[in-house]
Structures are given as structure tokens and as C-alpha cells.
């Protein structure tokens, strides 16, 4: 049963499952590196899914839908940013409130699209390469969101480590007082970082409603925003570890379904809890190897310039 075709197909599913998480958590990572803990990811993701679907369905353009999803996620993140950055409200409570707001708004926006469907974002086969055994479909037969997630990963990794803006952003996250003293506009930078996070969450939502399961249904993100948040912690705020975390979670999620298919009689609840347990176990292992936690020192602390 375990032939190369099947292995390739399973890996392709893993990539698809990990992509939503990777996109959303990359955005959150940037927001957190600048010092803002945004617990509104789930809300921004669902509003991206709803607005993205509504726009794509009405206009017939997946590209427009994706753009609208990004803008919608950004717009909701601006509400969060206003509260937490400009009004210095509590970030945890504000994020949770934003999620409630986002779930409600998305339900209202999507209500008239229930029961309709779209053609999924097509797989962009690369002639020749996508026919390679095993890795062909995995690496070269995916939809645009998968490639976008890889590009995003490269961009964030490079941007944070090698660019001036990345340096400033990290400085703001480590010590906003010092960054402020150096003349950096702390709150503007944090706002932009949160908006980037909102845009990514919106894009992840669009991946769900335009490519993964191309239709709209209320609450269709089903808690993936929370997993994305947890993965940022897992990564210790390093983009490449985020890749590892998202793919680990995606892989175990898919593999447990395959194990069930073999009919071994293992309680399905145990199998369903494996992705969570595996993530915990991996984190413990990595932490035990004394990898630094690396959390931005100012994460979660509101910045009030006149303090």
C-alpha cells in the first residue's frame, strides 16, 4: 500500500494542511517580534475567509477575493492596534474581544453565501517537475497559497534578520524605551507589524475559503487561529522553527487520519489528540536542549511614550 504515489499524495496533503497555519503564524510572529501579542488571529482569519469568499464569488476573481481577504484581516487588525497600541489597552483582553467581533462580522458577511460554491484555486503544476516521483506533486503541484507561504517565509526570515526595517522592528520589540530614545516611532512600527499580522491572518482565511474548502460556512476556521498562535510560541519567535512547527502539526493531523483508515481499533480520541501531544512533546524536547526562548522582551507591554 505504501507506494511512492501514496507517499507523494500524503505529503501533498500535509503541505496543504500546514500552509494555513504557516501563513497565519508568520504574520503573528512579526507582530510579536515588534512587541504586540495579538490574540485576535482567529477573528482576523475568519473575516478573511468570509470577505475573501464573498468577493471572489461576487466578482468571479480569486485574485480579487484574496486581496479583499488580506485587506479585511488588516482592517480588523487596525481595530486591535488602535486599542492596544494607541490606547494602551490590555492586549490579551483586546485580542479576545477582537476575535468575538470578527466571528460575528464574518457570520453576517457570509450569511447570504451559505450553500454556494466556488472553483478552488487551481493547482499550479509546473510542467515536467510536477510529474517527478513522490516530491513532484508535493513541491511543484500545489496551489498559489502554498507558494505564497514559502515566499512569505523567505521574506519574513530575510526581512527580520537582514534588513534595516527588520532590525528596527526587533529593537522595538526588545526594548521600546530604548527604541523610542533612539527616535524610532515605536507605535507606528508596532501598528504596521500588527497590520502585517492581520494581512497574513486574512490570507490564511482566504486559503481556507478559496482553496482548501472553497465554500463559506460559519465558524469554518474551527480554531486554527489558536493553533497558529501556539506555533509562534513553539518556534521561539524564529521563522524557520515556525516552518517546522506548522509541518509537524500538519503531518500528525494527516497521519492520524491514515492510521484510522487502517482500522487498527485505536480510540479515535487518542489519535485526534496526537497533533497536540506531539507539539507539546517536541517543544519540551527542544526546550530541554536549552534552545533559548527568545521571546521579545517587550512582548505584551503597552508603550506609552510619556511614561
Amino acid at each position: 500500500m505504501l507506494d511512492t504515489v501514496m507517499i507523494g499524495a500524503v505529503l501533498a496533503s500535509v503541505v496543504a494542511a500546514a500552509t494555513t497555519l504557516l501563513i497565519a503564524s508568520l504574520g503573528e510572529l512579526v507582530a510579536e517580534r515588534a512587541g504586540t501579542l495579538n490574540l485576535g488571529v482567529e477573528g482576523m482569519m475568519i473575516i478573511g475567509a468570509a470577505v475573501g469568499y464573498a468577493t471572489a464569488y461576487s466578482s468571479g476573481s480569486l485574485l480579487l477575493g484574496t486581496l479583499a481577504a488580506v485587506l479585511a484581516g488588516m482592517a480588523l487588525s487596525l481595530v486591535f492596534a488602535t486599542l492596544t497600541i494607541w490606547l494602551a489597552a490590555n492586549q490579551v483582553a483586546s485580542g479576545l474581544a477582537t476575535t468575538i467581533l470578527g466571528l460575528g462580522l464574518a457570520g453576517l458577511i457570509g450569511a447570504s453565501f451559505v450553500g454556494t460554491r466556488l472553483d478552488a484555486a487551481p493547482a499550479l503544476d509546473i510542467p515536467g517537475l510536477s510529474d517527478l516521483p513522490i516530491l513532484g506533486k508535493v513541491a511543484f503541484g500545489q496551489d498559489a497559497f502554498v507558494y505564497a507561504s514559502v515566499a512569505l517565509l523567505a521574506l519574513v526570515t530575510w526581512g527580520l534578520a537582514r534588513t534595516r526595517i527588520g532590525l528596527i522592528l526587533r529593537a522595538v520589540g526588545e526594548s521600546h524605551a530604548a527604541a523610542h530614545a533612539l527616535g524610532h516611532p515605536v507605535r507606528k512600527i508596532r501598528t504596521l507589524a500588527v497590520m502585517f499580522g492581520g494581512a497574513c491572518a486574512g490570507l490564511a482565511g482566504a486559503h481556507l475559503s478559496l482553496a482548501y474548502t472553497p465554500f463559506w460556512a460559519s465558524d469554518m476556521t474551527a480554531g486554527r487561529g489558536w493553533i497558529a498562535l501556539a506555533l509562534v510560541v513553539f518556534s521561539a519567535w524564529k521563522p524557520l522553527w515556525l516552518l517546522a512547527g506548522a509541518y509537524l502539526f500538519g503531518a500528525v493531523s494527516i497521519l492520524q487520519l491514515h492510521v484510522q483508515g487502517f482500522g487498527l481499533g485505536i480510540p479515535s480520541q487518542l489519535l485526534s489528540s496526537l497533533p497536540y501531544l506531539a507539539t507539546v512533546a517536541a517543544l519540551v524536547l527542544i526546550s530541554a536542549m536549552k534552545r533559548g526562548q527568545g521571546a521579545p522582551a517587550s512582548l505584551g507591554v503597552p508603550f506609552v511614550p510619556d511614561r
Binding site: L37, V79, T98, G107, V280, V284, A288
Partner: protein, 358 residues
């Protein structure tokens, strides 16, 4: 964990009193615009949301029923958050507490067991929640694994474990193989305070917890060590406070209170164990803790405000036939308004200073 909690030092009393009114004003304005935009009469909507639930003995009791678990869990979370320990997994500790306590209810079901059963269940529930809360604490202390991730992931594991139990070994044998346990005996049920309505003795326990927590956090060395460990870990270490003990301590308290809330809910309003025993109390309580500024009395107030938004939302769905999503949007808006108003009040003086410096 370098996540820092926001402290409010020297908030003027006038500001504290004014905050809710500012929040109310903001909410009224934002809400009125929203309801008008949705074609609803704002006056009617506000009456159903905020006035009606407070004007009827039944809904007043329901307010207490809904606020009780939020209060218990929220106070527990305040211990963690004051110490800068990020327990996001109260929902899981709630579930495990419910499971531990229910074990006794099921083990003594149909026997002549006396009135010791319920108190023992409550103790077991608290122990279960505490034990589950200690897992992320242990992983953090021993391996340095972030408790944010581990506590959250363990929520899902706890829910699946409960699911397994009620669909398998703990299923009611006379229940046509549906996933629920037998209904608990009278000695395993939290007594009601009045004959009419659902208000139960759990709220008495919760109020005792509020008083005790206020004392512990405000007046004891333990409270001080939690506070200091959270705000200035190095100073705490110099002062001889053991960081690990604080971590274990706050997670144990927080888990115990969440577990207690779980078993009270199952042995009270629900009456048996079933797959779904919490409408997200463990997460809503995070908002309650934060809105209450991590002070037990503040959390008492915020739990009731949150309960009111839920019950008002249900009333609006019933009376005004509003879709659930409209009530969610309103609840989100309301919370955002409260958060914004709270901040406006707290930072007003500082902003004046800012202008002077600038």
C-alpha cells in the same frame, strides 16, 4: 517569560468610578449606531440587552449561574497572570476537574452514600484541576517549555479524554449508548439556593474564594512573592523567593479553581457528565480576569458584566429575532468599548504630563 502584565499604579478613585460610566457612554453611542444600521430600534435593543435581564428574578439568578464559573476561573487566572505565568489552559483544567469529581459521583451512584459525597467531589475536582495545571508548570520549570503552548494544547487533549470517557467506560448503560453518564444522585448534586430557578450553592463558594483571594493577594507574603516574581523576577530571587515554587503554586491555585468550577457546573446546572460541558468558560474567564484588572473584586464585577452580555444576547435573539452573529458583533463592540474607556480613564493624567514634556 518576559510577557509583562499591565500594572495600574495609583489610579485615582474618581477614575475608577468614572470608567464604567465612560464605557457605558461609549457603548451606548457605538451600539446605537450599530443597531440603527441593522434596522433595529436601539432603545428597545438596549432595554432587552441590559435592563430586562436585571429586572426579573429568574434572569437575575441565571446571571449568577453564568457568572459563577467565570468568577472562579478568573480569580484563579489572576494568580497566574500576576506572577507572569500565562495559563491559557483553564478550559482544560475545568474539564479535568469535572472528570475527577464526576468519578466519585459515578462510583457512588445508586449506593447509600451519605452527604459526604458532594464535598468530596468538590475536593477531587479541585485536585484534578490542580494536577492538570501542574503539567505545564512542571514542563516549564523542568524543561523551560513555554506554558502558553503547553497549557493551550492540553485543553484539546482534556476535551478528547472527556469525550472518550462519556462515549465509552462512563456511558449510562440505560442511555441507549448515547454519550452521557447517568444523572447524578441527590447527594452528588450542588444544592439550589431557592426552589425556583437555578442559582446554586456554587456562588457561595465563589464569593468565599473572592474574599480569600483578595486577602491572600493583597495582605500576605505569598501574594507579595507572586507579585514581585511577576514584576521583578531578579528582585524576587534576591529576596529569597523561589521562582519554581511560585510557578507551581500559581498553576496549582489556578488549576484548582478551574477544576472546582468544572465540577460545580457538572454537579450543578448540568447534572451529569456529557461531552460538552463548557461554552468556552476557560477562555471567557481570561477576558474576565483582564477586565477585572487581576483583582478578585474587579473580576467579580467583570464576570457579571460578561454574563450580562451573554444573557442579553440570548434575549435579543429570542425577543428581537436577531441572528446570533449580530449579538456577537455587539458583544465584541461592547468589550472593545469597555477596554477603550477603561484606558482613556486610566491614562488621562499621564497624557497631560506627556503634553507638558513634549
Amino acid at each position: 517569560m518576559p510577557l509583562k502584565l499591565e500594572r495600574q499604579e495609583n489610579v485615582p478613585l474618581a477614575g475608577l468610578i468614572a470608567a464604567p460610566f465612560v464605557a457605558l457612554a461609549v457603548t451606548l453611542v457605538v451600539g446605537a449606531v450599530m443597531f440603527l444600521a441593522m434596522g433595529q430600534d436601539p432603545v428597545e435593543a438596549f432595554r432587552i440587552y441590559f435592563i430586562d435581564p436585571l429586572g426579573d428574578a429568574y434572569t437575575l439568578q441565571e446571571l449568577v449561574v453564568k457568572a459563577c464559573p467565570l468568577l472562579l476561573i478568573g480569580v484563579g487566572l489572576a494568580f497566574c497572570y500576576r506572577a507572569n505565568r500565562w495559563n491559557i489552559g483553564a478550559e482544560g483544567q475545568y474539564v479535568v476537574g469535572a472528570v475527577f469529581g464526576s468519578w466519585l459521583a459515578l462510583a457512588t451512584h445508586g449506593t447509600e452514600a451519605g452527604p459526604w459525597v458532594l464535598p468530596a467531589m468538590l475536593v477531587l475536582g479541585a485536585l484534578g484541576g490542580a494536577a492538570y495545571g501542574l503539567i505545564p508548570a512542571f514542563l516549564r520549570v523542568r524543561f523551560g517549555a513555554s506554558e502558553i503552548l503547553t497549557s493551550l494544547m492540553l485543553v484539546y487533549v482534556a476535551q478528547l479524554g472527556l469525550d472518550y470517557l462519556v462515549r465509552g467506560p462512563w456511558r449510562d448503560p440505560a442511555g441507549f449508548n448515547f454519550p452521557q453518564s447517568v444523572t447524578f444522585d441527590a447527594v452528588a448534586t450542588v444544592p439550589l439556593l431557592f426552589e425556583e430557578g437555578r442559582m446554586h450553592a456554587g456562588i457561595v463558594i465563589a464569593l468565599v474564594v473572592v474574599v480569600a483571594a483578595t486577602f491572600v493577594l493583597g495582605r500576605t507574603l505569598v501574594g507579595f512573592s507572586i507579585e514581585l516574581g511577576g514584576s521583578a523576577p531578579r528582585a524576587a530571587a534576591f529576596a529569597g523567593f523561589d521562582e519554581r515554587r511560585v510557578t507551581y503554586g500559581v498553576f496549582a491555585v489556578s488549576g484548582a479553581l478551574a477544576g472546582l468550577a468544572g465540577i460545580i457546573e457538572v454537579a450543578g446546572p448540568i447534572g451529569n457528565l456529557q461531552p460538552s460541558i463548557s461554552p468556552g468558560y476557560g477562555f471567557t474567564a481570561i477576558i474576565a480576569a483582564m477586565l477585572g484588572r487581576l483583582h478578585p473584586v474587579g473580576i467579580l464585577v467583570s464576570s457579571f458584566i460578561l454574563a450580562l452580555t451573554y444573557i442579553g444576547g440570548e434575549a435579543a435573539q429570542i425577543s428581537l429575532r436577531m441572528p446570533f452573529d449580530v449579538t456577537r458583533v455587539f458583544q465584541g463592540t461592547l468589550l472593545i468599548a469597555i477596554l477603550a474607556a477603561d484606558v482613556l480613564v486610566r491614562y488621562r493624567i499621564r497624557r497631560v504630563e506627556g503634553v507638558r514634556h513634549a
